[in-house]
């Protein structure tokens, strides 16, 4: 069974219909402007555990929305509309 993404409009659809989008957060302790640019351009939280992320239903309703997913098990734990 592949990962199915709960689209608020279309319901559970295959992950292949979606584009994954990360919510970028530059940590507050990074204050130097160049460092912040570097962080924005390249660095990732790459968190293990429950993350809030954005998905774009590219082959469906073409809407962005947010869900919560556990990256260690690849299971969706909750949905939140943006």
């Amino acid at each position: 069974m592949s990962l199915r993404i709960p689209c608020p409009l279309c319901g559970d659809r295959s992950v292949h219909e979606f584009v994954h989008g990360e919510i970028r957060r530059i940590p507050d302790h990074v204050t130097d402007p160049d460092e912040r640019d570097l962080d924005f351009a390249f660095h990732h939280d790459n968190e293990e555990g429950v993350v809030t992320e954005r998905w774009f239903h590219a082959l469906g309703c073409r809407r962005w929305f947010e869900i919560r997913r556990d990256t260690t098990t690849d299971r969706i734990v909750g949905a939140a509309e943006s």
Partner: protein, 402 residues
């Protein structure tokens, strides 16, 4: 019992010491190769390798064991060619049978644009030391008669770049050969001993906290695959890494007749035959970042559909086993090796889907860096600081399917 398991039984396992010259986190291919080359090339044997699971149980045991050097940028071609050369001598050097088999790899083109790309790849590879030539459909058919040259009518094979030094080796034999080579010379490998933290002395990394107690070290090397962001965070570093799953599977066996490794960057899959006769198939990473080892049915379905366009004989085979590894993807699809900016802390990561082929060269170069303190020329372009210096090593085209 075969010679492989007999040798493992002769090994002596020791308790961790209070301090080592070098501590390596992760006993996969890259960590063990670093320990091996530190011992054999530089005489540094006061080395501890800490592994949370067992030797080669992470991505070193979850890949498709392809060895090749036909990359897309000069620095990468040179680096991977070094690895191909080291692999060819590794059986003799370690006095162990690694099931290393040179097969050649065919990278097929199904469109005029892809033909141009493969011609360019062949030229660039040859220029920088990796033997590759562009071959037409007739030669492709001779090298791999099982191919449907019409590609199911949709993906005709118009030519391929042929890299004769493409090879495969047995993954667990490779990691154990390196582990045994390092241990025989005095290095310690500690399995089931996770590193839980780094010991910081001011700015400097001065050791590791493990499940078996604190261990001091003059140099700490992270050769972690899959969870490297967590280790780096312990040293206060943020990495340009996202971790994705990569799946692969094998079929039941087919008579030993399938010669080369075949790959198609337009159909996004590659296939080779294992020593047992299974057809081994792999493709691209899963789209979402994930640390899960779960495999999915739609991956098999999708890859089979694409592979059958070129290899229709496989419709009679059955899928036997499927597995998943987690790949640390760098933004430019090139590895990250060298210093980190944190004194005493070295890193070898970003091995994405191209880690196995780089094991000997990655280990050799990291060992040289740690032993001499000088960044070897071969890996100088792959430092972590390249992102801040705007010197990324973009090479997605060569990594796409492997």
């Amino acid at each position: 019992m075969n010679e492989f398991t007999e040798r493992q039984m002769q090994l002596t396992w020791r308790a961790p010491k209070k301090s080592y010259d070098v501590v390596i986190v992760g006993a996969g291919g890259h960590g063990l190769a670093t320990a091996y080359y530190l011992a054999t090339r530089h005489g540094i044997t006061n080395v501890g390798v800490f592994e949370r699971g067992y030797i080669g149980g992470g991505n070193s045991g979850r890949n498709t064991t392809i060895i090749r050097a036909n990359y897309g940028i000069p620095a990468a071609v040179r680096f991977y060619q070094r690895s191909v050369d080291l692999y060819r001598g590794l059986e003799q050097e370690t006095d162990r049978w690694l099931m290393h088999q040179q097969k050649g790899i065919l990278w097929m083109a199904h469109s005029e644009a892809a033909v141009r790309a493969e011609r360019m790849r062949a030229k660039l590879n040859t220029e920088f030391g990796a033997e590759t030539e562009f071959v037409g459909p007739r030669q492709v058919e001779e090298l791999c008669p099982q191919l449907d040259m019409s590609g199911g009518g949709r993906w005709p094979v118009l030519g391929a770049s042929y890299h004769p030094q493409g090879a495969t080796a047995r993954h667990d034999r490779v990691v154990w050969a390196l582990a045994e080579g390092a241990m025989e010379r005095g290095a310690h490998v500690h399995q089931n001993t996770p590193v839980e933290g780094l010991i910081l002395d001011g700015e400097r990394v001065a050791g590791v906290r493990t499940a078996a107690g604190d261990v001091a070290a003059r140099a700490v090397v992270s050769a972690v695959g899959g969870h490297v962001s967590r280790i780096a965070a312990m040293a206060g570093l943020r990495l340009p890494i996202r971790t994705h799953r990569l799946q692969a599977f094998v079929t039941n066996h087919y008579r030993q007749q399938f010669g080369p490794i075949v790959a198609s960057s337009e159909l996004f899959f590659y296939a080779s035959q294992t020593a047992r006769g299974e057809m081994l198939l792999g493709a691209e990473i899963d789209p979402q970042p994930s640390f899960s080892y779960r495999s999915s049915h739609d991956f098999v379905q999708d890859v089979c559909r694409r592979a059958l366009c070129l290899l229709p004989f496989m419709s009679n085979l059955r899928v036997l086993r499927q597995w998943t590894g987690v790949c640390d993807m760098s933004p430019d699809y090139s590895p990250i090796m060298g210093r980190t900016g944190v004194p005493g802390f070295f890193i070898t990561t970003g091995w994405g889907t191209w880690g196995f082929k780089a094991i000997p060269a990655g280990g050799e170069q990291m060992a040289e860096l740690i032993a001499t303190g000088e960044i070897p020329e071969l890996i100088a372009p792959f430092g972590l600081d390249r992102f801040a210096r705007d010197r990324t090593m973009a090479d997605r085209g060569s990594a796409g399917t492997h």
